[in-house]
C-alpha cells in the first residue's frame, strides 16, 4: 500500500511536469507569434520546417529566424537557469528569501558591464566586450564572497550570506559613484542594469546555452543532498552528504548557470526568488522534482514577461526586469500573506 502511494504521488508529479511542459510550448508559440509584427501559427510552423538560412524576402520568416527564435530561446534558458539556481540557493541557505543573486552574481556582472560602458570598451572591443566583462565581474565578486567565508576548507553558510550582501552593496555604491562621474553614460548604464533581452542573437544563445546547461545539470545532481540540507548541514553530514563538496558545487554551478545569461541580458530579478516558491507549493519541496519543474516554470515566466515587455507599450520596449518586478513583487507579497496565515 505504501509503495502504491509513493507511485501515485510520483504520477501526480509527472502529470505536473507534463502540464508545465505543454504550457511552455504555448508560451513559446505566443512569444514567436506576437510582437510589432504578428506571425500566424502556420507561418511559424512552415518557417520551422523550412529551417534556418533560407534566402528569402519573406518578412515573417526573417523576423522569426533572426530575432524571435533566439530571443524566446534565451528567455527560456535564462528563466530556467534562474529558477533552478533559485531553488538551489534557497535549499542551501535554508532560507526562502535567498535567490540566485545572493552571492553577488548580478552586482558583479553589473559592475563589469558598467566599467565596459563608462570606458567605452564596447566601441573599441566590439559586441562581446560587455558580456565578457560582465561574466568576469560575476565570477570575481562570487569568488571574493566565497574566499571571505571559507576558512581551512570549510565554508560558513551564514558568512556567505552576509558577505554576499556586503559585497553587493559595496558594488552598488561603486556603480552609483561611476554614474555620477560619467553622467553622459547614465542612460546606457540604467538600461543595462534593468535587464532586457533586446540584444539577443543566435551567437548569444550559443554562448549562454552550454554554461546554463552545465550549471543547471550539476545543480540537479545535488538534489538528494539538498533535501538532506533541509535539516541543517550537520544533519546532512550524518546522513552521509559530503557537505563541503556539495556546497562548493552548488555555489559554482549556480553562479555559472546565472552569470552566463545575466552577462548578456543584465540582471533580471524576482524569477529566481518566486518560481521555486510557486513550484514548492504545488509540488512539494523534493529537489529532484522541484528543480526540473522550476526550470520549466521559470523559462515559461521569462518568455511571457519578455513578451509583455516588448508589446505592452509599442513601439517602446520596457526592460524585462521591470516587468518581472512589477508582477513578481505583488505576487510574492500575496504568497507571503498566504503562508503567514498558514494556508500552505
Amino acid at each position: 500500500m505504501g509503495i502504491d502511494q509513493i507511485r501515485n504521488l510520483r504520477q501526480r508529479k509527472y502529470l505536473f511536469l507534463a502540464a508545465v511542459a505543454a504550457l511552455s510550448l504555448i508560451s513559446i508559440f505566443l512569444g514567436l507569434s506576437l510582437g510589432s509584427v504578428s506571425v500566424s501559427v502556420s507561418d511559424i510552423l512552415s518557417a520551422l520546417f523550412e529551417g534556418p538560412g533560407k534566402d528569402t524576402e519573406d518578412i515573417a520568416y526573417t523576423i522569426l529566424w533572426t530575432l524571435r527564435f533566439p530571443r524566446v530561446l534565451l528567455a527560456f534558458i535564462e528563466g530556467a537557469s534562474l529558477g533552478v539556481a533559485g531553488a538551489a540557493m534557497q535549499g542551501l541557505f535554508r532560507n526562502p528569501m535567498a535567490d540566485p543573486y545572493v552571492l553577488g552574481v548580478s552586482s558583479g556582472a553589473s559592475l563589469g558591464a558598467v566599467l565596459g560602458i563608462v570606458f567605452g570598451l564596447g566601441r573599441v572591443l566590439g559586441l562581446w566586450a560587455l558580456p565578457v566583462l560582465a561574466f568576469a565581474g560575476a565570477f570575481i565578486s562570487t569568488g571574493i564572497v566565497y574566499l571571505l567565508s571559507t576558512k581551512s576548507g570549510r565554508t560558513d553558510t551564514w558568512t556567505l550570506l552576509l558577505a554576499g550582501i556586503a559585497v553587493s552593496s559595496l558594488i552598488s555604491s561603486i556603480i552609483a559613484f561611476l554614474m555620477v562621474l560619467f553622467r553622459q553614460r547614465v542612460e546606457e548604464i540604467v538600461f543595462w542594469t534593468m535587464g532586457g533581452l533586446g540584444r539577443t542573437s543566435w551567437k548569444v544563445v550559443g554562448a549562454a546555452l552550454p554554461y546554463a546547461a552545465l550549471g543547471t545539470g550539476v545543480l540537479w545532481f545535488q538534489s538528494r543532498s539538498l533535501n538532506a540540507f533541509s535539516f541543517g548541514e550537520e544533519a546532512a553530514f550524518h546522513m552521509g552528504v559530503s557537505v563541503e563538496t556539495v556546497k562548493r558545487r552548488i555555489l559554482w554551478a549556480s553562479s555559472i548557470a546565472t552569470a552566463s545569461c545575466v552577462a548578456f541580458t543584465g540582471p533580471i530579478g524576482f524569477i529566481g526568488l518566486i518560481v521555486p516558491h510557486i513550484v514548492r507549493i504545488l509540488l512539494g519541496p523534493d529537489h529532484r522534482w522541484l528543480m526540473p519543474a522550476s526550470a520549466l516554470v521559470g523559462g515559461n515566466s521569462l518568455i511571457l514577461a519578455d513578451l509583455l515587455a516588448r508589446t505592452i507599450v509599442p513601439p517602446l520596449e520596457i526592460p524585462v526586469g521591470v516587468i518581472t518586478s512589477l508582477f513578481g513583487a505583488p505576487f510574492f507579497l500575496y504568497l507571503l500573506a498566504r503562508t503567514r496565515k498558514g494556508g500552505m
Binding site: R94, E234, G284
Partner: protein, 270 residues
C-alpha cells in the same frame, strides 16, 4: 555474544584553542550494547558523541567505530556505519514524513533520482516499528515535537547503521512513547547494533541500558554496570544527594534525589 567493539576511544581529547572540552577519554562499548551516557549539562556529552560520529575532529587520540577509523572514512561509508541523531532537528521545508524517512537511504543511493525497492522496504519497516505509518503523508513541519522526534528516529533506523549515537532521544516524548523508544533501542542492541545514547533521566538509563557512562567537565568519571550504581556516584557527578531505592514488586532499582538538599560544589565526600 562477542561481536567485537562498537566504539573504542583511546586517549581522546577535543577542544578549541587551549581549553579542552573532552579530556583524555578512554572508552569501549562492545557491539550489541545499549550504553547510556549521563552527566550534568555542559559536561561535554554531545561533543563526545559528535566526535565519535566523525563530525568533530579530535585534537588527539584515536576514535574507532566498529574497529575502523571513522574520521578517515568516505562520507557514505561512514554514514552506513554510524549516525548521530540531534535532540531536535527541524526541517526548513515541508517534506512529508515518508520523504524524510527515506532520506535515510542517501548513503546507499545508486541513482540521484529514484529509490530502489530496498530503500522503500527499509523506509516502510522503519515507519512501522516507530509507529508513524499513519503520519506518512503529513508535512513534518506540521507535527508535534514528539512526533517529529519519532520521524527522526525512523529516519535513523532507515539509514541502518551499525552504531546509533542518540542525543537525548526521548526529550519530547510522553511516557508511553518514551518507554516504547527505549524498548525499541534495546531491541536494536539485541539485534547486534550498538547504541550509545545521552539520557537525561538516570532512571530510564538504569532500567534499560546495560552499561552506564558518567561524564563531568569533559572527563569520563565512571563506567559501570547498572547494578553497581550507588548514591556516591550520583553525588559526585550531579552534586545531588540521592537514595537508590528498590521497587519491591519488580526488583527494579531507581534513583530518588532529595529535593532541596543539594550539595554545594566542594562539599562532596563529607
Amino acid at each position: 555474544m562477542d561481536y567485537g567493539l562498537g566504539i573504542s576511544l583511546t586517549n581522546l581529547s577535543f577542544g578549541y584553542g587551549h581549553s579542552l572540552t573532552l579530556k583524555d577519554i578512554d572508552l569501549e562499548v562492545p557491539r550489541g550494547t545499549f550504553a547510556a551516557l549521563l552527566g550534568p549539562n555542559g559536561a561535554g556529552k554531545s561533543t563526545l558523541l559528535k566526535t565519535i560520529s566523525g563530525y568533530l575532529r579530535p585534537k588527539k587520540g584515536k576514535v574507532l567505530v566498529c574497529e575502523r577509523p571513522v574520521h578517515s572514512l568516505k562520507d557514505k561509508e561512514r554514514s552506513r556505519l554510524v549516525t548521530y541523531l540531534a535532540p531536535e532537528s527541524k526541517s526548513s521545508f515541508d517534506f512529508s514524513v515518508e520523504e524524510v524517512v527515506i532520506m535515510g537511504r542517501l548513503p546507499y543511493s545508486q541513482s540521484i533520482f529514484s529509490h530502489s525497492p530496498d530503500d522503500v522496504y527499509f523506509a516502510e519497516k522503519a515507519m512501522q516499528i516507530t509507529q508513524i505509518e499513519h503520519l506518512r503523508h503529513r508535512p513534518v513541519t506540521s507535527l508535534s515535537s514528539g512526533e517529529q522526534q519519532r520521524v527522526q528516529i525512523a529516519r535513523a533506523i532507515c539509514q541502518d547503521p551499525q552504531v546509533f549515537l542518540l542525543d537525548e532521544p526521548t526529550t519530547h516524548l510522553d511516557m508511553l512513547f518514551e518507554l516504547e523508544i527505549m524498548e525499541l533501542v534495546t531491541r536494536l542492541a539485541q539485534e547486534g547494533r550498538t547504541v550509545f545514547a545521552i539520557l537525561h533521566d538516570v532512571n530510564l538509563a538504569l532500567r534499560f541500558a546495560s552499561r552506564l557512562y558518567f561524564m563531568k567537565d569533559g572527563v569520563l568519571t565512571h563506567s559501570l554496570e547498572p547494578s553497581d550504581l550507588s548514591s556516591d556516584v550520583i553525588r559526585e557527578v550531579y552534586g545531588v544527594n540521592a537514595r537508590i531505592v528498590e521497587d519491591p514488586a519488580s526488583g527494579a532499582r531507581f534513583v530518588l534525589p532529595y529535593a532541596g538538599n543539594t550539595v554545594k560544589p566542594g562539599a562532596c565526600g563529607k
